[in-house]
Symmetry: C2
Amino acid sequence: MRAVEWMPQNRALRLIDQTRLPGESVTVDCTTVDEVVDAIVRLVVRGAPALGAVGGYGVAVAMAQAEREGWDAARLDGEVRRVRDARPTAVNLAWGADRVIPLMGEGIEAVITESDAIMAEDEAANRELSRLGADWILAHTGRDKVRVLTHCNTGFLATTAWGTALGIVRELHARGVLELVYADETRPLLQGSRLTSWELTHDGIDHVVQVDGAAASTILRGLVDVAIIGADRIARNGDTANKIGSVSVALACADAGIPFVVAAPSSTVDLSTLSGEDIPIELRDGSEVTTLAGVVTAPDGARGFNPAFDVTPSRLISAIVTEQAVVEPDGSSPIDALVATS
Amino acid sequence: MRAVEWMPQNRALRLIDQTRLPGESVTVDCTTVDEVVDAIVRLVVRGAPALGAVGGYGVAVAMAQAEREGWDAARLDGEVRRVRDARPTAVNLAWGADRVIPLMGEGIEAVITESDAIMAEDEAANRELSRLGADWILAHTGRDKVRVLTHCNTGFLATTAWGTALGIVRELHARGVLELVYADETRPLLQGSRLTSWELTHDGIDHVVQVDGAAASTILRGLVDVAIIGADRIARNGDTANKIGSVSVALACADAGIPFVVAAPSSTVDLSTLSGEDIPIELRDGSEVTTLAGVVTAPDGARGFNPAFDVTPSRLISAIVTEQAVVEPDGSSPIDALVATS
């Protein structure tokens, strides 16, 4: 089972509908740009690495639709751009689209093959960064069994397979050195309680779900050895955008003196973004805050303020892990060591 | 309209059912100890100052029930203790009960009169601490209009009238110097979005509701001038227990260099508790985390971890305000200046 899959028979992008989990396990097939964009915007598919693959296959969907409906080149370019820019914060979506766009002239099969490569590379990156991250954590916590706090969902649902921060959790579990996971529920859309807990339950990994407001005190009370989160974009100076609530975990880790680790494939590192101030933060509809699962939680007329991401300054990050390297932002290694030197 | 009211006709403790707000505005009349304890445990009534009055009137309910049902003294003592100890963290509940227990020998009317005095004193304290708090904030932010962040509900619903932290907000609004309130929704039970937003909407005070995870970034982005919270117990060294999520707001304020203010009546100061480590933290049922308004938000079998409060160390608190004084824990005034010297 994968969050993102290409269906050659009907030239469809098949996605696990993550808005329906954990109650229902269903997939949706996107065969039009409208469907792809809608799936991205409604978070049927989310997670920076998964969005990288969606950026690639989304271009293929546009090309197939163009062929069926006889679009001219300008129309196709506009529709490809709609896919590429459907969400602003995670750099991977644009990165995935930009990687296949130069191949459009070679035909849809070339675009699909390149998207398949994005998938394969992401999975390999996740597995490698999980090994590097687990090594770093065991070396720096000095514990036989570690208690991990994580925020949002960074597992196979957020990636092409395995996971980033949750990939490290899986690696620690596989090595028999994981004691317990504290999963922040991650309001407003509850990716932690709906998705992370679902993945951990499936894998038989011992965990508890807590409200986001509990993270700081859980850390300050000494119940956690390390916090590990994913990333939607890592700037050249190490500042990292991730799901709203992440910087609050980082502040607590700094105060408690435990490591705060960011895990992502190198495709999430954006050396053209100089610092966190240059990362666009998606402001989503306030109704996501004032309702939950269809239940209205605030009085009539109340306005929700709903930034989807926050920026953790690099000074609060102990280590950033990609498949290429582990960089300690306060140390001597430059951030560009996180990216392959090709 | 008051959150807590004594009904002499039927010797009942009348409470606004805060679990039903903002959808429904209904009251419940408690005429038995079981009903009083159930209302406290289910958070029909909550908020440290309101619980002080409930502690007093709850003893009166027990006495009335004892009279009707012919309890002996030992039974009555046991039932009074059940009211007093129905929740562990807020010191006010036990404080209110302990204040009227010595009067039980004088009869139920003496207990009711003393409980009425608790109500009147709390309202007066709220109004006075609101003035002191507003003065301190305007002096220390140096702004003409202030943008305030608050957590949980500390308004008239949490007190006998007016409010503590929200009383300061009301005072700032009355003075025409309030720009905007950021109200944290306060998971798991959403006292912020359900109750604070309801009170602010009623008073026409401009505000937005945000998820608790957004508080830190809202503060770090410079959108807030001061955070003001209430307290469930203030220890002798200034460490303060308050609704889960409060310490995370304090960490962000410290990092951003803006004031973090605690507001409470002097009845919340417990000089017999030496530090935050000595404050019992209520661990509530995990299902409050894994569900919301009847909607299951986590997979089958997922466990919720649900501490209801956290402790903010005094080093992170800029000022503690009671009706007696404003104390800056890092300054020279001792914490006992917060309590009346009688």
